[in-house]
């Protein structure tokens, strides 16, 4: 018989729990025992599978991360000028922003383009625009990342055709296309074709590049936007892996071998949030992806198991309130990326909650990354947090959470059906709502938003990027000129071929390359594909 003593004099409230966003409870202190209890000590070295500590042996000692600020506005000429400005300031890669018209597969003179030409990125209608955008840029030295999805197959064709025309050997051409359409259905929204046809197009680009441009990375799978849409960090990575597996399965069905393309798949992840949770997310993600590719898919080349990534952005973490605080946030986010072993970094600029970044804001972001290399010592040694009891325990725990997220996707039918019917979208959207409620109630603390808010705060002075509708009109005029000067019969022939190939279920990349070279427009090629594949019918859910 036990006696229940009264609680007199005892504070019944337990100590406040600290739980990270992925749902892992954080202890006050970690020891070796915690690492062991959470799954054991990972003794693997950087450059060795499963790459927990980094995909390269020497990491930043050999070469610091590539700095690749997201840039593009107005037309190809204005964007080219900004590219040269960034390169002159020490940027080592380019990250191209397209306008929504180009992203959604329309021409600048289409009715759907109303009000959008050159607004959030540069307008691209034909190969001519690509020629202007990259004029004077050495594509062997500066790698280019195209942030393009719905119309990615067309834009990859344009990029390869442009490079070839300028005399670069496409077989040795490096670069990346975002080309992750499944995440577009979850967040970001620049889809065009139905889900299955969209996945087919991604596989077309993987297959084509594996043969013709083997050093080009045709896909960068994005956890980033899924996280922005409401996913927690473990889900961000778990859903991204589910997506990467969907593309991998599709490519394998084509008869490709895993080692022929897995190494060219890359990733794009977000860096805002709790620093330690993010670092553990990346370490756990690297280990898990290596296991998936090497053990599950049976890849023989260890490089196939590399989780290569751009880690950057952090858009949701930034605030419109007290915008200068975003400079500090950006620096912490860059620190996360550096401590996580990212191959490439891009930071959101402090003014991005307001506007397309000014040159000054972009330079501050660039300098933030550069001073980590030059002043803070972040490139001195590999995986500096490795071996920390806390980080190692968290890495083990995050891996379990990522696996849980992948299992959940399987339990709702797999990523492709669950995106087509909107289950994933509804899931992240519910969480985004909760996140907003928590921000407003103060349960989720945000400096300058729900704490440390100053009374009579002055309205922030932020310089706005002006929208240039003269440039938009010039873009339309230039499109008309290209259409008048090109060989229209040749365009017709290539579009007919494109349609035939699409109808036959063939890889459309060869036909796209030919059509692009004849200066077919983005809208013309997209329309042909829409005739065959149809358009995505969005499952409208809250």
């Amino acid at each position: 018989m036990t006696v229940q003593k009264p609680n007199i004099g005892v504070d019944p409230a337990p100590a406040k729990k600290v739980v990270n966003e992925s749902g892992i409870e954080i202890k006050t202190l970690y020891t070796r025992e915690d690492v062991i209890a959470s799954g054991g000590i990972d003794e693997s070295l950087p450059g060795e599978a499963p790459f927990t500590r980094g995909i390269h042996k020497e990491m930043y000692r050999k070469r610091p991360w590539t700095m690749r600020q997201y840039t593009g506005f107005s037309n190809a000429a204005d964007t080219n000028e900004r590219f040269h400005y960034l390169i002159a300031n020490g940027q080592t890669g380019l990250n191209v922003a397209f306008d929504l018209v180009s992203q959604c597969g329309y021409d600048s003179d289409s009715p759907e383009a109303f009000g959008e030409v050159g607004r959030v990125g540069m307008a691209i209608d034909t190969l001519k625009d690509f020629e202007i955008a990259f004029d004077g840029i050495d594509l062997d030295k500066i790698t280019v990342s195209l942030t393009i999805n719905g119309s990615a197959a067309i834009m990859i064709a344009m990029y390869l055709a442009m490079a070839e025309k300028r005399g670069f050997d496409v077989k040795n051409l490096r670069g990346t296309a975002q080309n992750d359409i499944l995440k577009e259905f979850i967040g970001r929204g620049t889809w065009i074709f139905p889900v299955e046809a969209s996945v087919k197009l991604v596989a077309d680009t993987i297959e084509y590049c594996a043969t013709h441009a083997p050093k080009y990375s045709p896909v960068s799978v994005c956890g980033y936007h899924i996280r922005e849409s409401g996913a927690n960090p473990a889900e961000e990575m778990g859903f991204a892996f589910a997506i990467a597996k969907a593309y991998t399965d599709e490519a394998l069905k084509r008869g490709l071998k895993i080692d022929e393309f897995a190494n060219r798949l890359s990733y794009n992840f977000n860096i805002y949030g709790n620093l330690f949770e993010q670092v553990a997310k990346f370490r756990a993600g690297r280990r898990l992806w290596a296991k998936i590719v090497l053990d599950e898919y049976g890849a023989r080349d260890p490089k196939s198991g590399w989780l290569r990534m751009i880690a950057g952005g952090g858009g949701f973490g930034l605030t419109i309130e007290q915008p200068e605080n975003n400079i500090t946030r950006g620096a912490y986010y860059a620190l996360v990326a550096a401590l996580s072993g990212a191959q490439t970094m891009a930071l959101c600029c402090y003014d991005e909650a307001y506007t397309i970044p000014t040159p000054k804001a972009q330079r501050i972001s660039l300098r933030t990354m550069q001073l980590m290399i030059e002043e803070i010592g972040l490139t001195d040694t590999v995986d500096p947090l490795g071996g920390s009891y806390f980080i190692e325990t968290m890495t083990n725990e995050m891996e379990k959470k990522i696996v849980e997220a992948m299992d959940w996707v399987d339990s709702v039918g797999g990523i492709v059906p669950a995106v087509a019917n909107g289950v994933i979208q509804a899931h992240v959207s519910r969480q985004a709502y909760q996140r907003q409620r928590d921000l407003e109630s103060g349960a989720l603390r945000k400096v300058g938003v729900n704490c440390y808010v100053e009374e009579n705060e002055e309205a922030p002075q932020v310089e706005m990027h002006p929208y240039d509708d003269v440039a938009a009109n010039e873009q339309i005029a230039s499109l008309k000129k290209v259409k008048a000067e090109r060989d229209n019969a040749a365009v017709e022939t290539h579009l007919t071929q494109l349609k035939a190939d699409a109808e036959a279920g063939k890889n459309v990349m060869p036909a796209l390359i030919e059509a692009v070279k004849a200066y077919a427009t983005v809208g013309e090629m997209t329309n042909v594909l829409v005739e065959v594949y149809g358009r995505f019918d969005e499952p409208v859910t809250l």
């Binding site: 329309y106 009000g115 607004r119 959030v120 419109i320 409208v540």
Partner: protein, 131 residues
């Protein structure tokens, strides 16, 4: 005034695919007891005006983050006026610079709720302004 709940059309005009905010606001309106029709992405001003008429909504709420809100809102204003829907409450949220507040109000968008507006304020504004 009838007993029917306030009906709100939450719409995404143009090609902007950022729908987190639109969905968050829509959910808050549902929780506040309103009936919400969410348009989904990539809607033209024409489809939005038609939906507003067919659904006989009290409130037309737009979400635009691409910066194209002035041209889109201007065109939609004309369409809504043509349909005699100028007696409904027009609202807009998203990435709206403070300098565009006055021009939008001038166009007839009585509620302008830029990024960082509170959900409760939006709900309250609708309650106060729907007759």
């Amino acid at each position: 005034m009838s007993d029917r709940p306030i009906r709100v059309l939450v719409a995404k005009p143009g090609l902007d695919g950022h729908d987190v905010g639109a969905k968050v606001v829509a959910r808050a309106l549902v929780d506040a007891g309103f009936e919400v029709i969410y348009s989904g992405l990539h809607q033209t001003p024409e489809t939005i005006a038609n939906a507003a008429q067919e659904e006989d909504v009290d409130v037309i709420g737009l979400s635009v983050l691409s910066g194209s809100h002035i041209p889109l809102c201007t065109r939609l204003r004309d369409l809504l006026n043509e349909k005699g829907l100028d007696d409904r409450l027009w609202m807009i949220g998203g990435n709206i610079p403070e300098s565009d507040r006055a021009p939008l109000m001038e166009l007839g968008y009585k509620g302008v709720f830029p990024t960082s507006s509170s959900l409760d304020d939006i709900v309250e504004f609708i309650r106060e302004n729907v007759a």
